[in-house]
Amino acid sequence: MTQKKGSSSKQNEFTMIADKENAEEFSSSASEEKVSVASNWKLVWWRYRKNRLAVISLFLLFFVLTIIIFPDFYANQYSEKTNAREAYIPIQKIHFFKDGKVDLWAEKLVGKRNMKTLAMEWVSDPAQSVDVQFFGKGFQWKFLFWNTERHLLVPADASTRIFILGSDRMGRDQWSRLMYATKTSLTVGMVSVLISVLLGVLLGGISGYFGGTADMIIQRLIEILNSVPYVPIWMAMTAALPRNWSSEQRFFAITVILSLLGWTTLGREVRGKFLSIREEDYVLAAELIGCSKFRIIANHMVPTFLSHIIATGTLMIPQMIVNETSLSFLGLGLRPPAISYGVMLQEAQNVKTMAQAPWLMIPGLVVVIAVLMFNLAGDGLRDAADPYSK
């Protein structure tokens, strides 16, 4: 759906509302005609637009997509930059005003060792401040083909560090790490769903379209997979991965492992759709004019429930994100030096650490928000997916 189409239909909606206000003169024919000539995707968008939360979520997801593509821009320091002296620094507040004027600055934190517990305690020093700026210079990264040093928010003095979301045990900046974790975790979620969807459509399609023995075998397979607790099996699978694999290999393997068990719901749904659509007249008509099986499936059958597949897929992404996070948290998913939400949350495994540095739980909060966004967008899409119902 392009922006242009969206705005033109918005105008139409106003006229519709105007019609509704005057019930006496309400003419159903105009709006009916508009609906009848609109494409399926247009109809889906019109219905989707009515769900405000879903629209906001979609907007936020587009924003998150930029984080996934350019995490370096949002980060302000290297994700692995450690400093034992800067461990467990709390959230450094960013202020937008100073003395009534617009001025961007961060509170300066000063560490003091508590002589009783021997732990460092960081307090804000009101007398000092750290100048920060938008689009300032930091470490070098590659934007498409060009090298750049610009970042979203950096301290004016490139040699100092700011910790927008605090730092962890090793003095690594949580904010920057969170950007890379977002990239990794959401990519795992989305790619594994993509593989699941492909598997589900392929196997569900074979099952529903051809029936017979293939259907029997795939159905039994789905039943077996559905009666297994996933997490233990995933754990066994990831534990079976060779230890000397690189982060990238492991990342890819875990994505595949997650999707190996994840396709069943979709497979079942697609099979059901195929079974019902197979009987439709337009499929028979396509068969009679001699369309190949592949053409019938790809051009006549799949488009009718594509929006459903996308909706179901969107709703599967949060599940996958949670699965990856849980596995990595237990130490069986992604492993450092890879950064994912689960890997970051490993820092918060101990109650005492959490009490000392509650900001270590922020990645968990981000998981919740990400899952919420995907769920809201997916729900909106699912409700809008069938524009002809009701």
Binding site: K20, A23, E24, E25, F26, S27, S28
Partner: protein, 341 residues
Amino acid sequence: MTDQKPLLSVRDLQVYFHLDEGIVKSVDGVSFDAYKGQVLGIVGESGCGKSVTMKSILRIVEPPGRIMGGQVLLSKRDHPDEYLDLTAMNEKGKEIRAVRGGEIALIPQEPMAAFSPVHTIGNQIMEAIMLHCNVNKNEAREICVQSLKSVGMSMPEKRVDSYSWQLSGGLRQRAIIAMAIAGNPRLLVADEPTTAIDVTTQAQILRLLKDLQRQREMSILFITHDLGVIAQMAQYVVVMYLGRVMEKGPVDAIFHNPKHPYTQALLRSIPSAQKTTKTKLPTITGSIPHPFNKPKGCPFHPRCIDAIKGKCDVELPVEYIVGDQQFASCFRYEKNEVNNR
């Protein structure tokens, strides 16, 4: 019949549905009387408000529908001269619940969906009995079996424990009727009771209803779109269109001497077995308007061949007396006496 007091009197009933798009006046000033021992037929096309009328008599109109005006009066069982105003009662209160099933019982449209599929029909019929008669479970079961027997169900002792989906369409409809009469009501409201079943069974069910009505001296409010069924069943007919009564009168008068243009057009569009000439079956011109843009004035005027410009499309006609017990709301009979009842 005029001397007798009616059992149920509907007076100027108005039921509106408040939708986002506007107000739909489903029933807009409907009046009729039902007498003891009489079968009253309400006939009209789909969407004319007959089902909503039925629901408002039982006070089971679902939101956003609301009764906006008028009265539904039911004579008391012990004092036939005194009336209960059903529209004044609390929709969820005890009073109206005693009326439902106890005084006025419903025979719903779809016998398949009218029963819960996970409870036996006996369970559901006994429930109706125990709500209205002061009996224990065993006695209720006994009454239930009797009731099933009286609707002509064979092996009632066995069928009591069966589920609705185990019965054929005809048997299911009989079970529904058994449930309706189990509370010993004075008025049966039958909402298209035969549309969902095949023609042979339909005839049996109609005969059964007529027999029951005679035996138990009940009244029946028979709602249908089928003029043939009306001719067979009813003694008095109310013809509705777009939430208003067009014409009402004794069944013979309505069928042989219709006065309202709508009734006339309706009767012309019935295929007849006697006619031999191969002429095209006349239809009523135009189509039923959208409920949001109900025409001003007489709702039928856009489709009426006799519509008077500047009159029918502006004013709403009242009911004029057009024969013995026969009334039509049409300006054609403007000179006739107005029905004041």
